[in-house]
């Protein structure tokens, strides 16, 4: 086993003639919080879908948890948790029913189920609200519950695709506290965002633009390299340089 949770080499995804992910190469270490930053349409979700075995890459290689996503998607799926951009649980099921369902399809062992269920309730702050309809929960709580459901099987790697979009700043902050807890427990978190403040929270991040990775490093490294004070400025400057280079 390598020390990397995710290894991506020359990964490319084309939809027809359109290149959504263009020759991306990067590694993510164990326990790292790795950020994928970029505007809409940059190819963040497409990359994550490939890493979760939902889309086949056009060319290049992706290794997740030691397994090739193209040849062993089932082994990959057993080792990851994924929160997609759109989904947040089944609205017509109660909190407990949602947890039980995901526990079932992730194949959590019978004796571990009560512990994991309690964990999910604790971390999402829903103890005592097990029988509430999920539809009635506020957005922030739903998001936390969705994360709880995605990690019931204690996956070593967690993919979060814009987990905090549409959630208020306070809820976002506490969601990031959860991400730190996971990372401290040794779980790798691969998270996409287009919020600049969230980029600062990542251990390392990649800037994505039009399918290309235009820079990679820790927030401090990226700011230093361009002599900028904030991620916002780094981001704008990087894109301008990229645009200038491609003309």
């Amino acid at each position: 086993m390598s020390e990397f949770s995710v290894v991506i080499e020359h990964l490319t995804k084309r939809f027809g003639t359109f290149v959504a992910v263009d020759n991306v190469t990067l590694n993510v270490g164990k326990g790292e919080i790795f950020g994928f930053l970029g505007p809409n349409g940059a190819g963040k979700s497409t990359t994550i879908r490939i890493l979760c075995g939902l889309l086949a890459p056009t060319s290049g290689k992706a290794i997740v948890a030691g397994y090739n996503v193209a040849s062993d998607p089932e082994l990959v799926r057993a080792n990851i948790g994924y929160m997609s951009q759109r989904f947040s649980l089944y609205d017509d099921l109660t909190v407990a029913e949602n947890i039980d369902f995901f526990s079932g399809i992730y194949g959590v062992a019978k004796d571990k189920r009560p512990i994991r269920k309690q964990y999910a309730l604790d971390m999402s702050g829903l103890v005592g609200r097990e029988d509430s309809m999920t539809r009635t929960l506020p957005g922030g709580l739903k998001q936390r519950l969705a994360l709880g459901c995605a990690i019931l099987h204690e996956p070593p790697i967690i993919f979060l695709d814009e987990p905090t979009s549409g959630v208020d700043p306070i809820a976002r902050r506490s969601f990031w506290d959860l991400i730190y807890q996971l990372s401290e427990a040794g779980q790798t978190v691969f998270v996409t965002t287009h919020y600049m403040d969230e980029a600062e929270y990542c251990h390392r991040l990649a800037l994505m633009y039009k399918g290309k990775m235009i820079s990679l490093g820790t927030p401090a490294e990226l700011k230093q390299a361009l002599g900028k004070g904030s991620m916002e400025e780094v981001f704008v400057e990087s894109i301008e340089r990229e645009e200038a280079a491609s003309v």
Binding site: F101, F102, G104, G107
Partner: protein, 376 residues
């Protein structure tokens, strides 16, 4: 195939169903409604035909014939005319559909072995009902004539004429009720529609609300997912089936001559195939509206037209006959009629049962393949 993952999906699907009681009631009430509606509307039987009589003979024999009409459940005497105008008026105003005119000398002609004359007048505006009523009336009159003559001959020591007697009685035998043929066919059509429509929404819904992507990222396999969905809707399909059978037997009085166990088993096979068809459409289209409409058309039309339920397959052009072979309702109609009306068993129906099993398995296999293809 992992039992625990399958059960998680089945349970979740049941929860969706019970959380949406309106849809559940519809799923259970609509088959009954359709069966009642079509069961009555499509019936080719006629009874309680409003009848007007005009007795010009006024003999004991003519009165006895009128008594025969009164005693029959097929006719209700609504008017006794004393002039031709009265008789015509009763029919013109729609009060009566059929008029029975007993000509003068009817009684004496009958006894004397001469041709006794009864005239039947029909309201042609409902030609279907009228022609069936005419058939009944003719039979009743003929039967009456034969009986009178038989009694007369017996008195004179002549041999009885039994053979004709029974042949005519067949016309009134309840076994010729057209409903007996219509109800089993209807059950097949209704079950096909309901089952296909039920499942047509269930996979597309997951695509539309984004949960499918989530599910595909888990260890859950397409087979487990689809079998889980199937199991939940299978339960509803079988409840519908039982409702239809009970209604057919107890309300429409269709005789159930064959094995109830075989009936349930073959219904289960058919239900499985129909549910799989809905699942396949749902998987391919990923869109609830399109899947719903497609499932409606593709289940209703073939089941109605090509199953032999109303139109005999033997009379269709060879190409259409060939097409009808891929319509599962065709096999189910044959099975239902066989079990209900003929009381035949598996030794006669095995080929049809096999066809249903094959249909369900192939459609299910394709659905699983289609789901896998979407993943890659």
């Amino acid at each position: 195939m992992n039992f625990r993952r399958w059960w998680a999906v089945t349970r979740k699907e049941f929860l969706h169903i019970v959380r949406d009681p309106l849809s559940l009631y519809m799923a259970l009430a609509i088959p009954l409604l359709l069966l009642l509606l079509f069961g009555y509307a499509l019936s080719l039987d006629v009874d309680h035909v409003p009848t007007a009589v005009y007795d010009l003979d006024r003999s004991s024999a003519s009165r006895e014939l009128i008594e025969q009409f009164k005693g029959s459940r097929y006719f209700d005497i609504v008017a006794s005319a004393s002039t031709p105008d009265e008789l015509n008026a009763a029919i013109d105003r729609g009060k009566a559909i059929i008029g029975v005119v007993i000509q003068p000398g009817f009684g004496s002609d009958l006894k004397g072995g001469r041709e006794a004359k009864v005239q039947l007048i029909l309201d042609g505006s409902d030609s279907n009902t009228a022609s069936i009523a005419l058939g009944y009336a003719q039979s009743l009159v003929t039967l009456y004539g034969i009986e009178v003559r038989a009694i007369a001959r017996e008195r004179l020591g002549a041999p009885k004429v039994n053979s004709i007697d029974t042949r005519i009685r067949v016309v009134f035998n309840s076994d010729l009720k057209s409903r007996n043929y219509i109800v089993p066919g209807l059950i097949a059509v209704i079950l096909m529609i309901i089952a296909a429509v039920l499942t047509s929404l269930c996979v597309a819904r997951e695509w539309e609300n984004g949960s499918m992507e989530q599910l595909l990222s888990t260890p859950l396999r397409p087979v487990e997912f689809l079998l889980g969905k199937l199991a939940a809707y299978f339960a509803i399909g079988m409840i519908d089936m039982v409702i239809c059978i009970v209604t057919g037997v107890f309300l429409f009085e269709v005789p159930l001559r064959g094995s109830a166990v075989l009936l349930i088993a073959s219904s289960a096979l058919f239900c499985f195939g129909a549910l799989c068809w809905g699942i396949l459409l749902s998987t391919i289209t990923r869109n609830q509206v399109i899947a719903y409409q497609l499932s409606m058309i593709s289940s209703f039309l073939p089941a109605f037209l090509l199953s032999g339920f109303i139109y005999s397959i033997d009379n269709m052009p060879p190409v259409i006959q060939l097409v009808s072979r891929i319509v599962p309702a065709r096999y189910f109609v044959t099975i239902l009629k066989g079990i209900f009306l003929k009381g035949v068993g598996i030794q006669i129906l095995w080929a049809e049962l096999l066809a249903l099993l094959l249909y369900g398995s192939i459609v299910f296999f394709i659905a699983v393949r289609k789901m896998r293809a979407k993943v890659a």
